[in-house]
């Protein structure tokens, strides 16, 4: 699809999502949802999938989706980030679908994509280099922590290696695993420990290609995570700017003091950089040229932006910004949780410095 057309659709879709969130889940409501035991509003999930058809936008046309381009996907995640919406959105529509699209076709894989497009199913990816063991009859056994969206996931993507150490990737039904919740810094980003006990799996990437499939899934979903981080950072900056314009000390708005102004200007600089870098990477995703270096670069800028804005917001809000009641810390928590997804900081820097210096 031509980029211009993609951008028009992206704006329409974003407006639809924005409208629904304004009615159903603003920042405060989203916060309430995050504190429920499920940590997620399945009704809202269904509304987004059926009323707006959001889920189908991420799924290829041949598998029950509408296959909108990366600009449309990014527009959706920018809106979700604005309210820090909890739920298996990124784990399913971001990393999960992106990984499945890169996987070898099979009846089950194609069917799971169709289930995601209609909002019936959620997907979680066991990343972080975790590898289960395969027994003689190709059943998976093992356990992995730090899995985003593990609780309630209908399907899991996971690597497993055979007796000779050759690794493949599999798709496993959520009914075949047990999940133990972990405590997360961010209630809107839930993680769990997934245990496989002689679980059966469908091959997603054959012998020797398991790690590469998960890496490609991370690379081809990085733009969606970055877009969500951008949406959150923008909302956070807008909130603290609004506060700096009305909060008075020494008889004047604190936003008129250079110390405050300059920190906000620097926050804005970071946001513009993330926004413009994301725009370039979206074109690379569209062209199929995005690689691990570009994904790492984007996530590095996204992580830096999220942290910079979150820290500035807490500082400029002053005492109120340190309270549990205020929303400032929610953005810091989200920034911390997001930073360890897909390609964590140490790995990003390894990827980037290797590309620069050609050292391994």
């Amino acid at each position: 699809m031509p980029i211009d057309e993609d951008l028009v659709i992206a704006e329409e879709v974003a407006a639809g999502v924005r409208g629904l969130l304004a009615r159903r889940a603003d920042l405060d409501v989203a916060r309430q949802i995050a504190t429920t035991s499920e940590g997620h509003d399945p009704t809202l999930w269904s509304e987004l999938a059926s009323t707006l058809g959001v889920h189908g936008l991420f799924v290829p046309a041949g598998h029950g989706g509408d296959e909108a381009g990366p600009h449309v996907g990014a527009a959706v995640f920018r809106e979700l980030g604005t309210v820090l919406l909890p739920g298996p959105y990124f784990s399913t529509l971001g990393q999960g679908v992106s990984t499945l699209i890169e996987a070898d076709p099979s009846v089950l894989r194609n069917d799971v994509l169709r289930q995601v497009a209609t909002g019936e199913s959620t997907v979680a990816t066991v990343g972080g280099g975790a590898v289960m063991q395969l027994d003689g009859s190709d059943r998976l056994t093992g356990s992995a922590a730090d899995v985003l969206g593990a609780r309630g996931a209908d399907w899991l993507i996971v690597q497993a290696s055979d007796a000779s150490g050759v690794t493949s990737a599999y798709l496993v039904s959520g009914a075949e695993v047990t999940v133990d919740d972990q405590e997360s810094v961010d209630a809107s980003r839930r993680f769990g420990t997934v245990t496989f006990e002689t679980a059966s799996g469908m091959l997603l990437a054959g012998p020797g290609r398991g790690a590469e499939l998960l890496r490609r899934g991370a690379v081809t979903s990085a733009h969606l995570l970055a877009a969500e981080q951008l949406g959150a950072a923008r909302a956070n900056l807008n909130a603290v700017i609004a506060y700096a314009r009305v909060r008075e000390q020494f008889g004047r708005a604190i936003g008129s003091f250079q110390a405050v102004k300059h920190r906000l200007a620097d926050a804005y600089v970071q946001i513009v950089r993330l926004d413009t870098l994301l725009a370039l990477v979206l074109r690379e995703v569209q062209d199929g040229t995005v690689d691990e270096v570009r994904a790492a670069l984007l996530l590095e800028q996204a992580g830096r932006t999220a942290r910079f804005v979150a820290d500035a917001s807490i500082q400029i809000h002053g005492g109120i910004g340190f309270t549990w009641e205020h929303s400032a810390h929610l953005f810091l928590r989200r920034a911390l949780a997001d930073d360890v997804l897909l390609i964590p900081p140490a790995q990003r820097r390894q990827v980037l410095s290797s590309a620069l210096l050609q050292v391994s």
Partner: protein
């Protein structure tokens, strides 16, 4: 590509290819910074004049000026592409930077026809190098409070006062001068711009030695200097508007400098790769931080360029790029000096300072000139974020 309409019709790829080929043929070693550094000041000026001649012959200078005034009539984005390629190739700075990038565009925008006909050809021919008489000892960031006065004597004005940080004033034939012509109106409204001949009696130019040891900028004293009335640029009282215009043109030059930052970064990476030992961990950390910052800043510049092409750019956004490239350049040159080690800061008696030391010291000017980093942040906060002005 042939003269005339060729460049104006070029798309980005064709233009880049033309400029790169041209650079390959014309940017000979005599123009490299290392060669320039070995010359004395007068020789350096001569070589730089020659470089400008080359650029003009290649249709790569004053390229966005209208064809009837000796330019190529290129779009702003096309000029930016040319400047980026020159910056990437390490082309030397212009000696008549002020003439080509500030005074010329100001005259084109607000000059009278006879002023354009008189001054513009003399910039193109190399007869007039211009300097910029803006800053004063008491008026730096707060330029509008400048005190140099120009008093109306009918057919001429008499100028008294002092200007500072006037680059290349000792080689200049013309000065784009801001002086106060009316003290009874708010400070922004009482300023007028003049084109002053530097050989007018009463002008005294004194070079100022800089951090680097060189003397490229000057103090300029005006003592009863008579300036004909027809040397007013625009109308009396329009000086502040003209100053704002020149700052915008100046920020347009950010693309050439941003390309220069990329060149500096690549040079540092190449030196590190040539070493048998991998760099220390903290060097890698800083290098990766610079890599990310450079890529993100280039994306911002690219987006600005796209919107400049579409005619939808907000001029204040140039502050994002000026602030960005200057602070990044300082960081990279700090790192380059540190990596070069003791040999870069201690040298044999009489030896020239190392390139790393010279560049690191010279970079300190970048976050000050053309609007300090503090002023850029104020502009971003007030104009783009809507924060209130200070009390």
């Amino acid at each position: 590509m042939t003269a005339g309409t060729g460049l104006a019709a070029a798309d980005e790829l064709a233009l880049r290819e033309y400029v790169r080929n041209w650079i390959g043929e014309h940017l000979t070693p005599e123009f490299f910074p290392a060669a320039l550094a070995r010359l004395d000041t007068d020789e350096r000026v001569e070589v730089r004049r020659r470089w400008e001649r080359e650029l003009l012959d290649g249709e790569l200078l004053a390229s966005s000026w209208p064809v009837e005034h000796g330019g190529q009539g290129l779009e702003p984005w096309q000029e930016v592409v040319i400047e980026e390629e020159l910056g990437l190739a390490g082309a030397p700075d212009l000696i008549n930077l002020i003439g080509f990038r500030l005074a010329g565009p100001v005259l084109l925008d607000v000059g009278r026809d006879e002023q354009k006909e008189h001054f513009l050809p003399r910039i193109l021919s190399g007869d007039d190098i211009w300097c910029q008489g803006f800053s004063e000892p008491g008026a730096g960031s707060d330029l509008a409070s400048l005190q140099a006065s120009a008093v109306d004597h009918g057919d001429h004005y008499v100028v008294n006062g002092q200007k500072v940080w006037t680059s290349w004033a000792m080689h200049a034939q013309k000065c784009l001068l801001l002086a106060r012509t009316d003290r009874d109106v708010p400070k922004h409204q009482g300023i007028t711009a003049f084109a002053v001949d530097m050989d007018t009696p009463g002008i005294d130019v004194r070079p100022v030695r800089q951090i680097t040891g060189e003397s490229e900028f000057c103090e300029v004293f005006f003592d009863g200097v008579a300036v004909p009335r027809d040397r007013i640029i625009g109308v009396p009282g329009q000086g502040w508007e003209i100053a704002r215009l020149t700052l915008l043109y100046e920020r347009g030059s950010n693309f050439v400098y941003l390309a220069g930052v990329e060149r500096t970064f690549r040079g540092l990476v190449a030196r590190l790769r040539a070493r048998p030992e991998p760099p220390a961990g903290d060097v890698i950390t800083r290098l990766v931080a610079a890599q990310v910052e450079l890529a993100a800043l280039q994306a911002t510049a690219r987006s600005y360029l796209d919107r400049l092409t579409a005619g939808t750019a907000d001029p204040t956004e140039a502050s994002l790029i000026k602030l960005g490239w200057t602070e990044l350049d300082v960081a990279i040159k700090d790192l380059a000096l540190e990596v070069a080690g003791t040999a870069a800061v201690v040298r044999a008696p009489g030896a020239e300072p190392s390139a790393e030391l010279h560049e690191m010291l010279a970079s300190r000017a970048e976050t000050i000139y053309g609007g300090t980093s503090e002023i850029q942040r104020n502009l971003i906060a007030e104009r783009l974020l809507g924060l209130p002005k200070g009390g």
